[in-house]
Amino acid sequence: MAIVHQTAKVGQVAGKQLLTSQEKGTRGQWWRFVLVLFIVVVTLIPIAVVMFLAFTPTVTSSTSGFTLENFSNVFANSDVILWLQNSLLVTLGTVVVSVAVAAPAGYVLSRGRSRAVSGYSLLLFVFQSLPVVTSVIPLFILFAKLGLIDNLFGVTIVYVASAMSVATWMMAAYMDSIPISLEEAAWIDGASLFRGFAQVVLRNSLPGVLSTAIFTFLVAWNDYLVAIVFLRSAVAFTLPLGVQSFFQQNTTDWGGVMAIAVVMMIPPVLIFVLLNKYFSVGGIGGSLAGQ
């Protein structure tokens, strides 16, 4: 009895220090708030720098304070609209093709149980760990022969392939959460395996599709290495190359560089802020190793 009493007392003391308990004091809550706030502020400094410089007049300018003149300068004197167009085309292509390829592949990974599927899963993993540099060099020589250098289509294929493994795991992870009994009901009604996939599983996989789409969007939109290898002339540049070449040519025009940077930053940030509740990478682990 005495022991039980003592344990309870120790438990109470420990309970006060607990970070995870629901009923902790408000003082601890505010202390953690300040800590997180501090981390957030420090973390966001580089992003704040981009915003600040983009809206600050350059040294040679006659205006002062908040200005949009960097944007009007950049839009008038650089190919930023063209780069934006190229980036949007490549990214949209990558997202659509990736989802179309990864959704059925994810279904196989989620539902298939055989040596072949295990082998396929290992293949996905091995190819995910290959450095892009290794495949990019032979592809560069091949694409040169096929006339796919400076071609947005060529870059899109490479993006789809490099996002494929993670995209497939993401789709599989979501499909794992859809009960197989739904398909079984369809099979009993005479549906084929394919119809079970297309009409039952895929229809219920919108969050998985969105998650995959967001991920592939980031891969294509933010890539630099593939773009710098395959896109050699300024007309074919995507935004990352645009920012970089503008930066090299106008090293002192920080306002202009940052204005393009803001243009490039807005789409991914907007997508994440609006859709982040659909984005989950946690499931990857399950489909990667859970079988």
Binding site: A14, P104, S110, Q128, L225, M258
Partner: protein, 309 residues
């Protein structure tokens, strides 16, 4: 972890004609055709180039000229080159700092954000931004912050009475800068992975631990970490792959300099091929790196699949 548990229950039963039975059933073909587009893409964009790359690494060609067969000469040249070993060394440092730095910060933030704090949801989104913002954009901002001795951060050092470091000209500072930048870019991914794993931890185990008088650090060490261990290993493996293969973080910030201090193997391979036009030599670098990485990753991957938690 949630998905794993739900998945196991669905896995007991089998789809009609799913491979696994003794005989080939019609569904096998459906499964094959569903996976076919991705297999074709993978083999075309990853598989075929891998074989090509191996062939190139045995020749002394340029981007235009296939060159002469030289056997293993490119590999021998690399293994005898101090630049190669320097790059290998920095790749290890960069990867270890990148993986564990981002993991510690990501897990710490995931633990903090799991508790109820004001504006927690907004913080969570804001903290993802370093991972979401293109490296080209953030590296430009870092460049502005540190590039010259009159940039804001060196000025801050000076105002504190310290010698303003030349981040891009001093080898040690350049290395620190690149590693810190990598952690900054990667911690949100680790935070997402940790948050997902933590969400599946059953709160009642903490109540039991509290009854037994376990302190918070003890609970973290003996309950939380073991429960999320599997997800942690997976995030380490993925981040190792991301770090070893990372090109833009280093290339855009320092270009591999000063005096090759921040040259990683990927950057070395890229520079050898596209700047020095020595395709065979550069591909050999990439290839050796690939083999080591694939072997390590495959071993770890098997380990996780075996580890039943």
């Amino acid at each position: 972890m949630t998905s794993t548990t739900t998945a196991t229950s669905t896995r007991e039963r089998r789809a009609p004609g799913t491979p696994g039975g003794r005989r080939f059933k019609p569904g096998t073909w459906t499964m094959f055709f569903l996976a076919l587009p991705s297999i074709v893409l993978l083999l075309l964009i990853h598989g075929w180039p891998l074989i090509q790359a191996f062939r190139q690494s045995l020749h002394d060609g340029t981007l235009i000229n296939p060159g002469q067969f030289v056997g293993l000469q490119n590999y021998i040249d690399n293994l005898n080159s101090p630049t190669f070993w320097k790059a290998a060394g920095f790749t290890v440092v960069f990867t270890v700092v990148g993986v564990f730095g981002s993991w510690i910060i990501g897990l710490g933030l995931a633990l903090l954000l799991r508790t109820r704090i004001p504006a927690g949801g907004i913080f969570k989104v804001l903290l993802l931004l370093p991972w979401v913002v293109p490296i080209v954009v953030s590296s430009t901002a870092i460049n502005w912050l540190v590039a010259t001795s009159s940039s804001p951060i060196p000025m801050l050092f000076e105002n504190l009475g310290l010698a303003p470091p030349l981040f891009l000209a001093d080898p040690t500072w350049a290395r620190i800068l690149v590693c810190v930048f990598k952690v900054w870019v990667s911690f949100p991914f680790m935070m997402l992975m940790s948050s997902a794993a933590l969400a599946s931890v059953d709160e009642t185990v903490y109540e039991a631990a509290r009854m037994d008088g376990a302190s918070s650090p003890q609970q973290l060490r003996w309950i939380t970490l073991p429960i999320i261990a599997r997800s942690t290993y997976i995030s380490w493996i993925l981040m190792t792959i991301f770090c070893v293969n990372d090109f833009p973080t280093i290339f855009l910030l320092t270009g591999g300099g000063p005096i090759d201090a921040t040259n990683s193997l990927v950057v070395l391979a890229y520079r050898t091929v596209f700047q020095n036009q020595q395709v065979g030599l550069g591909v050999a670098v990439a290839f050796m790196m690939t083999v080591v990485l694939v072997v390590i990753a495959t071993l770890l991957y098997r380990q996780i699949r075996k580890a039943a938690i």
